[in-house]
Assembly symmetry: C2
Amino acid sequence: MTAVGGDRLTPRAGEIVAAARRILEREGESALTMRRLAAHLGMKAPSLYKHFSDKEAVEVELIAIAFEETAEAFEAAVAGGAQRPITALAGAYRAYARAHPHLYRLMTDRPLPRERLPEGLEARAAGPILQAMGAVASARAAWGMAHGLVMLELNDRFPPDADVDAAWEAGVAALESAKTTEHA
Amino acid sequence: MTAVGGDRLTPRAGEIVAAARRILEREGESALTMRRLAAHLGMKAPSLYKHFSDKEAVEVELIAIAFEETAEAFEAAVAGGAQRPITALAGAYRAYARAHPHLYRLMTDRPLPRERLPEGLEARAAGPILQAMGAVASARAAWGMAHGLVMLELNDRFPPDADVDAAWEAGVAALESAKTTEHA
DNA sequence: GTCTATAGTGGGATAGAC
DNA sequence: GTCTATCCCACTATAGAC
């Protein structure tokens, strides 16, 4: 098991987080139990509590990983100066959420454990959206739309015949026009 | 305990749903267990299975109630022809979600159990949004934005100092301009 | 000191017999 | 309606092996 966490975690803790990620991504949140996590590592559940104070501490590490990867995806989307940064960021946002649905849910389902997360990580991930939208309020509206469309898609809430691509296109168009008319 | 459910449910089943709603709204989803629900009604958990096949059947009734109430709120918001129907609907959407956060979550957290819900209920709730936005794709983008902003607010995901009102205003402005430029 | 295990608490959904 | 029972969960107390 490859470890993760850099100098945030001990090597053994990094291995546990890596195993937790595999379980979460493959089998979903309900499968991520301390018992099963321990079993994947050849140990018993109580032993995990020597490495993490509680289950939430494991989840916090997964959230940190998801934030790092999201920030990287955003930075790649606008690298070199995209002509349509909003479109590029929307595409990157949706693509990451669809590629890692359970990780994405974990990242957005609950209040952010800001005090347990590396400093500046949240701001780094938000930066490209803020830059593309030009104002904090518009950036939050854009985030809201992206998050809502992603969750409705992940939760299978659209009617079976719905054209989700078209909804994203209409949403991105609205955000683009909001940006240009902002100072009118 | 006042019963609900009309002719969808037996009187006793209606009482159970009404109790379930009270528990859910007051104490949240994790408090809505079959044991506690039974205790509130002076019975034991296994007895509930005489009235509902499983816990999900109880939840479906709560979802149906939330849909009815949402549809009514939308209809009231645009009754008599609001000058700014998008603004009015956004306000009604956010207000309902904030007034009934646990019910709202239940309604959107999972795939819609369409086959177990009264026919036409989903379309009735969606109607005012579709009408206000003028096109299905735009209506879904608007729904996405409203849902995303609501969930981020309910999940306490915005930074503590964030101006959520301003984000809604920026979002509604974007949707308004999307509507007017739609046929350009 | 660091890793592990066993055993137990208290909660949950649910099935079956009465 | 009841009861008992099965199987899941997070988590804790305790203690033994290295």
